[in-house]
Structures are given as C-alpha cells and as structure tokens.
C-alpha cells in the first residue's frame, strides 16, 4: 500500500509546511522519492546544543505509517542516544516489541498515530535531556555523566560547525 503511505506523507508534509513546530523544518528532499526526507532541527534553548541547526535524514518504509521511519543525522553528532554514524536511537522510532537495546520499558513506541512531527519533537527533547542509560554512544554517555564541561565544549563546537562558524579552541 505505497499509495496510502504516499498520501499520509503528503498530508504530514502539508501540515509541517503550513504549521511547523518552532525551530523545525522537514520535507522530502526531492519529490521524486517521497520516502526520503530531510529535516532541520534547531538545538533547544538553554541546552548545550542551543542554536545549532542539525540536519537529518528520514527514511520511510513502504508500509508507513504501520512501520516507523528511520532517522539519521547527516552532520557530526556527539550525543548518548545517537550512534557515531548519526542514527538516532529513541523509543518512538521502534514499534512495540522491537527492542534492540533492551532498555525501552514504558517509553512511548511507534504506532500509526505517531507522526513525523512527534518524532522530531521527541528528538528535540532528546537533545535537551539525553538518556544516559542508552548505549548508542557509550563515550558520549560516559562524558555526559562524568565530564559535563567537556561534553558541552564538544557540543558547542558541533553547533558552530552546523552554522559555519569557526571552532572554539579546546
């Protein structure tokens, strides 16, 4: 039923174009492939990712919205819940029962009532409040716990990088 996936994606695209949440943009990179989206997320205020514009790629399965999309940041990221290759690891991107990390208990899972907008808002929350029990990036999790200053410095440089501003020197 790629037809219904397309229609649903078009509806979400329209919604996100006309009425997006603060600091979020998302849409298909090229409408010839509606299953590949690009999203820009502004780092939330008051966090070490504040002000950065983080680009990510969303890949939708043909049976969307039955199955969740995949999300991967296309810029450098250093975050406990993001793999070093940029893949995002949060519960909303997993269907119930599909629990590769074994750490998601009561957290919210994917279901067809979720949406791209909800995923992106969850990612904003994730940037603000990392879940250091998730082992997507063990180094980042360890540093977040033990050396917050260094973590913030790295994050600050990531922000600058996305904005094309010269790095701070360590």
């Amino acid at each position: 039923m790629a037809g219904s996936a397309l229609r649903r994606l078009m509806a979400e695209y329209k919604q996100l174009t006309l009425n997006p949440p603060e600091g979020i943009i998302a849409g298909p990179k090229n409408e010839e492939n509606f299953f590949e989206w690009e999203a820009l997320i502004i780092g939330p205020e008051g966090t070490c990712f504040e002000g950065g514009v983080f680009p990510a790629k969303l890949t939708f399965p043909p049976d969307y919205p039955l199955s969740p999309p995949k999300m991967q940041f296309t810029c450098d990221m250093f975050h406990p819940n993001i793999y070093s290759d940029g893949r995002v690891c949060i519960s909303i991107l997993h269907a119930p029962g599909d629990d590769p990390m074994g750490y998601e208990s009561s957290a919210e899972r994917w279901s067809p009532v979720q949406s791209v907008e909800k995923i992106l808002l969850s990612v904003v929350s994730m940037l603000a409040e990392p879940n250091d029990e998730s082992g997507a990036n063990v180094d980042a999790a360890k540093m977040w716990r033990e050396n917050r200053e260094e973590f913030s410095r790295i994050a600050e440089n990531l922000v600058r990088k996305t904005l094309g501003i010269p790095q701070l020197l360590g």
Partner: protein
C-alpha cells in the same frame, strides 16, 4: 402430558395475520381513534369520581359500570343461576380487567390479586400483601371480609395468559378456604381480533387497545362449587384447576407465574440483543470488501472514526479517494482520542513563547531574530512538486541564516553575518 410451551401462552402481535382483518382494521382506524378519545375523557371522569365519591356499595357498583364503559368491556354471564352463595370465587386469569368483569357478573366482590389499579376506587383491588407471608395475609383477609361483607375473588394463576392453557395455581390461597366456586372467563374481541396483551407490552399500551377496540367481550361461566373436606391445599388447588381447565377445554400446564415472567424477561433481552445486532449488521456486514478498505484507511488515518470512514467509503468505493476526501476536509468527523501522550509537552514547556507568531520569515528577516522567530511556517502549500521543493529549500536557507545570525548576536562574535 403437555405439548404446550410458555411461548404458546403469549401473543406476539396485536393484530391477526390475516389480510382481510388488517384491511378491516385500517378502515376502522378513524372510528377507533374517536372511540379512544371519548373513552380517555371518560376515564378521566372515572379517576376523578373515584377519588371524591365515598366508598359505599352502590357507588362501587356505579364506578364499576363506568369502568366497563371506559374500557369498552361487555360482560355476559352464561349461567347466572348457577351462582352460589359462597365466600370465595376462583377464576382463571386473562387480563388486568378480569376482576372488573367478574364484579359485574357477581355484584359485590373483593378481588385480592394485585392489579395495576391497586389504589383506584372502582377499579381497585384490596391489597392484602403477599399471600406468601401467610399469617399477615390471613389476618388482613379476615378483617377485610368482615368489614366489607363481600365474597372474595382469587386468581391463583397470578399472571395473565392468552387463554390457551392454565398456569400452576399458587396453592397458598387454598389454605384459607373450605368451599370455593370456580368460574371460567373467556375474552373475545370480535371483528378485529386485536390481542389483549402482547409479549412485553405495557399496561398503558394494553389499555389504549381496550379503548381503541370496538368492544371487548368477557364471558363468565360458573362451575359447581367445590369443598376442600380432607384434601390438602395442594390437592384442592389442583382439583379446582383441573375442573376449570376441562370446562375451558384447555390444558393445565406445569408452568408457574414466575416461570412465565422469567421467560418473558429472557425473550425481551433476546429481542433487544437481536435489534442491536441487526442495527450493527446493516452497518458492518453488507460488504467484506468495505470492511477491508475501511481498515486500510484506518491504518493511514487512525484518528478518524470508523463510522466516518464507512460513510465516505460507501460513496467513493475507493481507499485513495476516501483518504483524499478526509485529508482535504470533505469528511466531517470528530477525531478519536488516541491513547498516546505526545512528548511535545516537555518541549513546548521549554519554549512557551511560540503561540501566536506564525509570521512569514520574509517579514522578520531584517529585524533581530529571536527563538520565537524560528518558525518556518509557509503561508501556502505549493500546488506542484517544483513549487513545494523551492519553498522547502528557501525555508531551510532562511532557518540556517536566522540561526546563524542569532548565534553571532548572542555571543557578540566579530564575524560578518
């Protein structure tokens, strides 16, 4: 011994299944309605008179006659000479007005079975409480018979049937009396053959049909009186019952009044369930294809109630058309509550200032950007892919530019914007 079930003791429809009779009923309708209105008025008079007139024998008999007129009841007695001077009459039970008709045939009478008109003089019966609390009943019975000096009427079946058979008698009544005179009543509504009562019908409903029918003919027939002698109350009750049954040429069944009411309740519940199922079936069963299509639509748009999806699908017969109709707002529905609790709350709490500024980016680009201006909403959604992609590209660039400017200004960096 008996082939009759409870289902044979109840009527199901008011009118007979006979085309001629139904045609007759239709022709009779205007006359019936006039009669109904007249009799309603008369019933009001009866109710008022019953409240204000004193309770004396001549007035009782006057009210009784008025009641017969109100409900169009004609009483004929087959063998009035056989009436004996006994203290107790036992009758079969066919309707709520049995005692009114029998009062007419006998004269002064104390009916003691409960009827819906307990408190209405002229129609009322004497409330002696339940016969099953024997002692209290007996005391009250003795007191009332002494006061009123009238014979007692009991209907030991304790609930009315359509007259096709007799129910079990409650033998408790027979412990109080030595000698009783049984009597048989039969009811006929000639011409239209409208049923006295139907399965689950209310008293009001039955009464309206009494008033609507041209008349209702009660026939009362006295049987020879019977004495208890050395018989137990059970045996005595049974003999009286057999006597009435054989006179009426009907069976004496083993069902009791409570069996019948139990069965009626079950039937009513069944009927209600069937009605609900039928209503659902109309909506669900006609087409498995429709069910399949609706579930596809529901998968894509889970917040749309199934009823709205069915409504539109039954017109469009196409999943895609229905999805388009819903997305473009051509289908009216109330979105269903979904069980998920969006994580948006924590985010919007951090940035509470977003509420109203959905401005176009172009209008804000020459002032200092603030986080509240990071909203990249477009004013229109392009009609074709090129337009949409261009708008998307522009908004991405604007977002990055705005974020960069904001960052530089916030950190007082000496970098060109």
């Amino acid at each position: 011994m008996t082939n009759l079930g409870i289902k044979h003791l109840v009527n199901y429809s008011r009118f007979p299944d006979n085309e001629v009779k139904i045609l007759l009923a239709v022709l009779y309708l205007p006359l019936g309605i006039i009669l109904l209105l007249l009799r309603c008025t008369l019933t009001l008079v009866l109710l008022i008179l019953g409240q204000i007139l004193p309770d004396s024998p001549p007035i009782q008999s006057f009210l009784n006659n008025l009641a017969l007129l109100c409900f169009g009841i004609i009483v004929s007695v087959e063998n009035s000479k056989k009436k004996e001077n006994v203290e107790v009459f036992v009758a079969n039970s066919l309707s709520m007005f049995d005692h009114v008709a029998i009062s007419k045939a006998i004269g002064k009478l104390l009916p003691i079975n409960k009827t819906p008109f307990q408190s209405i003089p002229g129609l009322g019966t004497t409330d002696l409480g339940s016969v099953n609390s024997t002692e209290a009943f007996k005391t009250k019975l003795e007191k009332t018979t002494k006061e009123k000096k009238a014979p007692v009427l009991i209907c030991p079946e304790e609930s009315a049937t359509n007259g096709k058979a007799l129910l079990k008698f409650n033998s408790k009544y027979f412990s109080f009396f030595q000698k009783v005179q049984p009597l048989c009543i039969t009811i006929k509504r000639p011409l239209l053959d409208i049923s006295i009562s139907t399965l689950g019908s209310t008293y009001i409903n039955d009464i309206l049909y009494y008033m609507f029918s041209p008349f209702t003919n009660y026939t009362v027939k006295f049987l020879p009186s019977m004495e208890k002698k050395s018989l137990s109350e059970d045996e005595f009750a049974d003999i009286v019952r057999q006597n009435i049954a054989s006179e009426l040429k009907i069976e004496a069944t083993g069902f009791s009044s409570s069996d019948v009411s139990e069965w009626t309740k079950r039937q009513m519940a069944e009927a209600r369930r069937r009605n609900i199922e039928r209503a659902n079936a109309q909506y669900r069963l006609p087409n498995p294809e429709l069910v399949r299509m609706a579930s596809l639509v529901k998968e894509v748009l889970p917040y749309v109630p199934l009823s709205a999806i069915y409504n539109d699908l039954s017109v469009t017969r196409s999943v895609d058309t229905t999805i388009t109709n819903i997305l473009e707002g051509r289908v009216r529905f109330i979105p269903e509550q979904t069980t998920s609790t969006p994580q948006t709350s924590s985010v919007s709490n951090q940035q509470p200032s977003t509420s109203t500024s959905y401005g176009n980016v172009a209008s804000t680009s020459n002032s200092t950007p603030s986080p509240a201006q990071m909203n990249m909403g477009a004013s229109t959604f392009g009609k074709n892919a090129t337009e949409r992609t261009r708008s998307f590209q522009e908004r991405k660039e604007q977002l990055i530019a705005a974020a960069r400017r904001l960052y530089i200004e916030k950190h007082n960096l000496d970098i060109p914007l």
